[in-house]
């Protein structure tokens, strides 16, 4: 279930982490979650799948963060991972122009495949290497705005900007989920994905219109 609201109090979100290899995806999420390692997890020392529990304005949020392999050869595996995601964090390296182009490709693909319900974060990582910057702040931020994404600058090395990124993302995903609940009326909250899939209404199998398919990229 993508976004389960139990009486509107607990949310479970899946966030997928995309970006070229070596842009620092793993360090970023590790930095964010490192104090939250659960020794029952396979991931005690590893960083492919991490969870984080948050409390935002009195509401509990369970975050499941899915890392993906960023090498070009694995690009086709993307949909297997980002299915049913509520949010995506698209990471590039501010010193690597090419990694920013890869982010643009991911944005196009995600908007096509998942519509506008997925909250996108574009993250320029490694700002500790600002002197070697090859992606301009203005370009990155205006691009993000043009595709309805938010832009962040982070440094996993210096632990900068990471808390803000995740907190912001959670708030946006909560807003999306709440808007969806309102849309659906009282009672049962819906998973974000269900709007893109098949719904069962009053014992009948009905198709619903596909979710947003705007390609704002």
């Amino acid at each position: 279930m993508a976004a389960g609201g139990m009486g509107g109090k607990t949310y479970s979100f899946k966030v997928v982490l995309l970006g070229e290899g070596c842009v620092g995806k793993t360090s970023l999420v590790l930095r964010y979650c490192e104090n939250k390692f659960n020794d029952k997890h396979i991931t005690t020392l590893q960083a492919s799948f991490l969870t984080k529990k948050l409390n935002i304005t009195g509401k509990r949020v369970n975050l499941a963060i899915w890392d993906t392999a960023g090498q070009e050869r694995f690009h086709a595996l993307g949909p297997i991972y980002y299915r049913d995601s509520n949010g995506a964090i698209l990471v590039y390296d501010v010193t690597d122009e090419d990694s920013f182009q890869k982010v643009k490709n991911w944005v196009k693909e995600l908007r096509k495949m998942l519509g506008n319900e997925i909250c996108l974060c574009i993250v320029g990582n490694k700002i500790d290497l600002d002197k070697d910057r090859h992606v301009s702040v203005e370009e990155a931020e205006s691009y993000a705005e043009s595709v309805g994404a938010k832009h962040y600058h982070t440094s996993a090395k210096l632990n900068k900007g990471i808390e803000e990124l995740f907190l912001d993302l959670c708030k946006r995903m909560m807003e999306t989920a709440q808007a969806e609940e309102r849309l659906k009326g009282n009672g049962a909250s819906q998973s974000a994905s269900s709007r893109r899939g098949v719904q069962i209404v009053d014992d009948e199998l009905q198709a619903t219109p596909a979710g947003g398919c705007c390609s704002s990229g």
Partner: protein, 490 residues
Amino acid sequence: MPPFLGLIRAQSADSTHCTSSTPPAPEGVILRRPSQDATCSHPHRASTGSLPPSTPSTLGSLGTTGSELQNHGSPVPQSPHRVSWIEDGVWLPPPRPSSLLQPPMLELDSLSISSIEEEQESHVPSPTPHHSSPHRLADKVINRLSAVGQALGGLVSQRKRLNNRVQEMSERKGGAFAETVKEFVEMTLKRGTDPARDMGFEFLQEVRSSLTSLRETLLDYPEFQSLLDSITDLSDLEIELSLHKVALKPVSAHLCSCIHTSRTNDGTFGRLQSNLRLLEKNSVEELGGSLGVGVPDCVSLERIQQRWTSMHEAYSPDKKVQILLKVCKSIYHSMSANASSARTVFGADDFLPCLTWVLLRSDVVTLQVDTDYMMELLDPTQLQGEGGYYLTTIYASLYYISSFQPRLPARQLSVEAQHSLNQWHRRRTLHCEQSRRSKHRRTIRRQACQERGSQNSETKTGSAEESGEANDSVDIDESQQQMESIREAL
């Protein structure tokens, strides 16, 4: 998400054999064999031969003397460390310096409460009797065992009560639950035999939704509710597991054989096997791993093979996932332990290549069957957790192998892959909706079944549209457009 990592023992004694091309697992996993035994020259790869359709091996053969001999031809191990079901490393003291072999797992990864009772009822004699363990070890182990055992005793009996009740209700003459289970088993065994009709994974999706309906039937019983009220510490997963025992166990071999047929017909196995030959010589770096990342040594690899065998033998998708997680854990361990650089933390960039490296040394055909089995039959609420992540990863890795085409752009996603993803997605959304609207569940299912029943002669596409698949067609169109746009971008 119930913490289901590490609670189930690898060698589930009550598991049914699905169709199997590999020899049955030796009942006792050998953790540390005498060092002279460690002259493993070559990573073992199980046969990738085809599985015979629907040939459930007899469970009885497991417990016989043959099990030790089948341990990949190695002599009967003389390790003093084997204490029946606790051979898995949990209760053992740290490895003695004299042992050359390292246990891949040092954590509490295989304590299974359920395996205790399961072994009791399946009457599999443990290969090494308790009293053969050295006193030094035995004292330590027994002390710890009894302490933990007392703490867990309540849980065990609760679980047992649950299992017994479900079992009893499934056998009760004239009972609604018993009838539904019986009907489910009979219907399922009849299905999947007609290649023109039942191929593909729609059938498995129906099985999954039937399991959910069965759970609802169970929960509708006031007596079952009062049982649940009296037991406090068991999660939904336990109900699911007890249901697997009565409903899935009788049909699991059949389902495996259906998947096998389906994957043979759609060409996946052929591609897997031919690409395996193309890729098997590749180093982990050539598979995309970063320079210096470690891979399992031959001992770990052999142990992984044993775990794959256990995974295949388990009938419960949840138990299979537990075993998968253990394999992933030991791969991670090897990645750091055998790394040539000092890095100790690896993410997906390195894990996927390493897993692929391991799969290329494994029986990919059987693994594909098991992966499909888990993907289709796992309760969708499990799919977002850690189990879901690693299941997705093995699915992705197998897909990478089967779709490997050195000359094509890497970004091309085949129409078949999109279709299979869409189907999986559809099942999940359908099922989640079902869970949500539990009161309507059976009505929906029956209606869906009737619909399908009336369309038996039609093509799969036809019935898919009827059951509300218009979205998926849209999805496919969209993704095709999208792939085209990506290709243009290239």
